[in-house]
Amino acid sequence: MGLFDKLKRGLAKTREVLAGGLRRALFLGRALDESLLADLERALLAGDVGPRTTTALIDEVRAAWKAKRLQRSEDVEPFLRERITERLRSGGNALVRAASGPTVILVCGVNGSGKTTSIGKLTKFLKRDGARVVLGAADTFRAAAVEQLTIWSERNGVEIVKQAQGADPAAVAFDAVTAGKARGADYVVIDTAGRLHTQTNLMQELEKIRRVVKKAVPDAPHETLLVIDATNGQNAIRQAEQFHKAVTVTGIFVTKLDGTAKGGALVAVRDTIGVPVKFVGTGEQIDDIEVFDPAAFAAALFD
């Protein structure tokens, strides 16, 4: 699927959302009052936006209403959507590119969030205009993780640098970057083992991977993508904080938005670490990837 198709699909999604019947029922013919605000609050909470951020957002609405900047009930939701979109928009969603040589993308996140699958999709996305991609299988811990990434490399027809299960992940990452450099690759994407942000030794291991990668390419990794599962609730904030502290995250890849989860915790994540969401995963297939669209995301919260 080309970029244009993707964009169109994204827009279609937005339109569907705008036409949502629920919204009509929610706002049409209702007075702008506290009970309306309470309903909006519920929608945000149900979307995992979390009590703190929700209260802050609803307070903004209330202030605008009291200041007479908001007068009609049907303006309330667009107002709120705009507030959320604004929060999510800054920083943009473009991938950082290396000034010269391969762009190194380090992919990290908690267990099962969708790192390996997202790399499979991202590889196809990067290859769309002929870029050369090399994958690094630095998840040497999970059973058959290397085989899983190998299958994705085959699906994409790209090279993979790997060692046996149990090998030193930093060494694999180093090899991958070195190989990418030697072969003139445009991108080197490094898969890492899932780790909970509370596991100090594993977070240190991730820091080490990052350090070692720098030995091969001093300004690498150019992108450090944190993969966050949209079904996660408020813990996503802790994940973001801790991963950011350890390896300076530059972008977020939010997965599993094809389900009923809204991923609202990302609003707080954005506020907390100030890093933009760059990609969205919408399924298990290779093309189920979209560039993050803040407006569509915000609209979907009220679906």
Partner: protein, 470 residues
């Protein structure tokens, strides 16, 4: 996982002090509880019901004499949590006329395959069963290979086919088990969204072809509000018989555990406490409720300790922890035992989570603890003079440098040790003076808790030594 909620409640209850409950301060308390539950990802509707019940009961209580209303509020919240988390532990429905079939289901990446391996190992070791694992995830790349590797790790055979329909693979897997005399079959299914009608049909087919005795929904402890919808749908389609809560070794507050329990009425059977295949534990509602309230999981800790050290030294450890004059010498002994225990408990951080009030230890202390550090701390204490061990205040810069040199550690490490020791001592003292533990576990103990304590006493452990009456 529940620690943050525990911290919040501990603070909240400390704030209430001994003052009388008024409608106003109940409101504040109730609002705190609501926010805490929402931050813990408890489902919106479940929170609402919970808060209503707590409010009703708390207001009714103000007329009782002789008991501090704040304590009563603690008790109300505690009891309500226990009620929400479910009553008693449930037993596996063993099939006495053939293999018992377990089926693991759930959303993508929740931990199904890992849990299959853990369950196989657990049943093999603890119940003397002979499990067979069946690879029914033909969708995720290398999922079959993953189960095969795990099978080798836990020394359990794996039935797999190259491709084909999951329900057929599963049926043949069960047949294979009967043929080869395996008495447990564990079906590892692919992850799926609850709204994916086709894939949900597929699970119904697997169920129809294999008649599982247990169907367990594997839920990630980090899951948010979506937990309610997905659990409801899996349960509606398959009538699940239990829930496994995975990844509880992190700091997710796992409020979803409460909602799923209330929405489906199905018990949580096990919790996953790490990536390693022995890291699975039975879920005990009472323990978790205690943990939520910052009481710590004392019973759990004792049981754990018993697996590693004998009862006598387990008791000694616990008593020392709560002894007034707690010295670095005691600490050193504990460090050694803790090191033995820690592998079972997912590291020292994990072990502290089980300790009363230790949930309150600042993360800067618990977060950086690992087994290597325990070894360094032990070495450092061993390099101290007896005087320094009983009275660490004398350890000035010069002495610390000497200790660091003598133990081959660093001054930073010695400083960290002393800081941790100081904090822990303070913590234990505060707990004692607050007497929350004493009040909950002491005078106004309910029958069940008394029975629990009697049980422990029979095994040579007197809980009352740990909790000063207040």
């Amino acid at each position: 996982m529940f620690d943050s909620l525990a911290q919040r409640f501990t603070r909240l209850f400390a704030g209430l002090g001994r003052s009388k409950l008024t409608p106003a301060n109940i409101e504040d308390g109730v609002r705190e509880v609501r926010t805490a539950l929402l931050e813990a990802d408890v489902g919106l509707d479940v929170v609402r019901g919970f808060v209503e019940r707590v409010k009703e009961k708390a207001v009714g209580l103000t007329r009782l004499d002789g008991v501090a209303p704040a304590d009563q509020f603690v008790k109300v919240v505690h009891d309500e949590l226990v009620a929400l988390l479910g009553g008693e532990e449930t037993r596996i429905r063993w099939n006495d006329r053939g293999p018992t079939v377990f089926m693991m289901v759930g959303l993508q990446g929740t931990g199904k395959t890992t849990t299959c391996g853990k369950l196989a190992l657990h049943l093999r070791r603890k119940e003397g069963k002979k499990p067979l694992l069946v690879a029914a995830d033909v969708k995720r790349p290398a999922a079959i290979e993953q189960l095969k590797v795990i099978g080798r790790q836990v020394d359990v055979p794996v039935y797999a086919e190259e491709g084909g329909r999951p329900e057929k693979i599963c049926a043949r897997g069960v047949a294979k088990a009967i043929e080869t005399g395996r008495d447990v079959v564990i079906l590892d299914t692919a992850g799926r969204l609850h709204i994916d009608a086709e894939l949900m049909d597929e699970l119904e087919d697997v169920k129809g072809k294999t008649n599982p005795h247990e169907i367990w929904l594997v839920v990630d402890a980090q899951v948010g509000q979506d937990a309610v919808a997905s659990a409801r749908e899996f349960d509606r389609r398959l009538a699940v018989t239990g829930v496994v809560l995975s990844k509880t070794d992190g700091d997710a507050r796992a409020g979803a555990a409460l909602s799923i329990r209330e929405v489906t009425g199905k018990p949580i059977r096990y919790v996953g406490t790490g990536e390693k295949l022995e890291q699975i534990e039975p879920f005990v509602p009472k323990r978790v409720a205690g943990r939520i309230l910052g009481m710590g999981d004392v019973v759990g800790l004792v049981e754990k300790a018993q697996e590693v050290v004998d009862e006598a030294s387990a008791r000694e450890t616990a008593e020392k922890m709560f002894r007034d004059a707690w010295t670095l010498d005691d600490f050193r002994l504990q460090l050694r035992q803790v090191r033995e225990m820690s592998s079972k408990l997912g590291g020292l951080g994990g072990m502290l989570k089980h300790m009363p009030g230790m949930a309150d230890l600042p993360e800067e202390v618990t977060g950086r603890m690992d087994d290597g550090q325990l070894v360094r701390w032990e070495a450092a204490i061993e390099s101290m003079t007896p005087k320094e061990r009983t009275d660490p205040v004398v350890l000035d810069g010069q002495r610390r440098a000497r200790v660091a040199r003598g133990s081959g550690t660093s001054v930073a490490s010695v400083n960290e040790l002393l800081k941790a020791f100081k904090l822990m001592r303070k913590q234990v003292k505060e707990l004692k003076s607050k007497g929350i533990l004493g009040r909950l576990a002491g005078r106004r103990m309910d029958k069940q808790k008394l029975k629990q304590i009697e049980d422990l006493k029979r095994r040579g452990i007197d809980l009352r030594n740990w909790f000063p009456e207040s």
